[in-house]
Symmetry: C2
Subunit: 204 residues, 2 copies
Amino acid sequence: MTTTPARRLTRKGEQTRARIVEAAADLMFVRGVAGTTLDHVRAEAGVSSSQIYHYFSDKDALVRAVVAFQNDAIVGQHERSFATLDSVPALRAWRDQIVAHQERMQCQGGCPIAALGSELGELDLDAREGVAIGFHRWQAAIRHGFEAMQSRGTLPAEVDVETLATATLAALQGGLLLCQMHRSTAPLAAALDTMLDHVESLAQ
Amino acid sequence: MTTTPARRLTRKGEQTRARIVEAAADLMFVRGVAGTTLDHVRAEAGVSSSQIYHYFSDKDALVRAVVAFQNDAIVGQHERSFATLDSVPALRAWRDQIVAHQERMQCQGGCPIAALGSELGELDLDAREGVAIGFHRWQAAIRHGFEAMQSRGTLPAEVDVETLATATLAALQGGLLLCQMHRSTAPLAAALDTMLDHVESLAQ
């Protein structure tokens, strides 16, 4: 597996590369990575094969870019929207937004980062590590809110916010998987509500 | 997608069919469903192609049998080992067994039922429904323990054991995904410990 070396791109080059990655991300979310060929991506992005190979040496390189794209899209979205996930009401609003998003998606597809990780976790070391980076960043974004609660005294000093943030991300991911399989947001709501009840029970 | 009609099998026929399903389950866990061909299954099970087609009309039919097999293997194992998951110490022992199993697996592969669901959830309606049946059965097995705790008075009557069981399964599934991606049992332990701390905080 080789990587096309990073190089400066013109603005137009950046746009073309972004269009390819976004098309690949959409296709892989709907059809899976195995079910998506470079030819599908070419058609969806409206580019030529030689344009794809100009930016990506092979499909593996494109997959790595898709993982990074989804990390930025999803965890970045979390970071922008919930920069201050530092109170129980803020956490409840976060939960509401996630459940509403899944309602809009009709519970289809689950978490795009988890879908990539689950499909590629044992097949593509780089992809798994990319997904792990995304989850690490997501856990940190959640943890920062708990740390802020702790420094304000809303959460007691003895609460292990590292563990609590990991458990919150796990509740979200497990809830999303059950939501996708059961085609219902009820298990997602159950997972997040129970987790946030626990956080609230620790708060003072 | 057609199903070979159910029919009586001889004992030898049952054994051959079981060998095919088990070989397919092992291969699909390691290589994914997309990466597993009927030819791989034939070689792994040591059977002929015509033997496979005697029992399964096509790969989709075999996949359905693999989902049912994993439901029985994993949820059935839970039901047999934890028929009485009806106390906090029993729940902690359950958590220890899951974490120890992942240690032995070197955190590879995640939950076989979840892996099938995540790969096939949007591609194969029957497979998704089969996975949903497995998760429903698993949730019920966990809920039965909470119901027993409630009827003994260990959990207060006002606790919603349905929600609590769903959240516990979500914590397990999310924890297994993070465990697989990070190649560490720490996030799995964090997810389950936090969930069981919450159950313990509700117990009286």
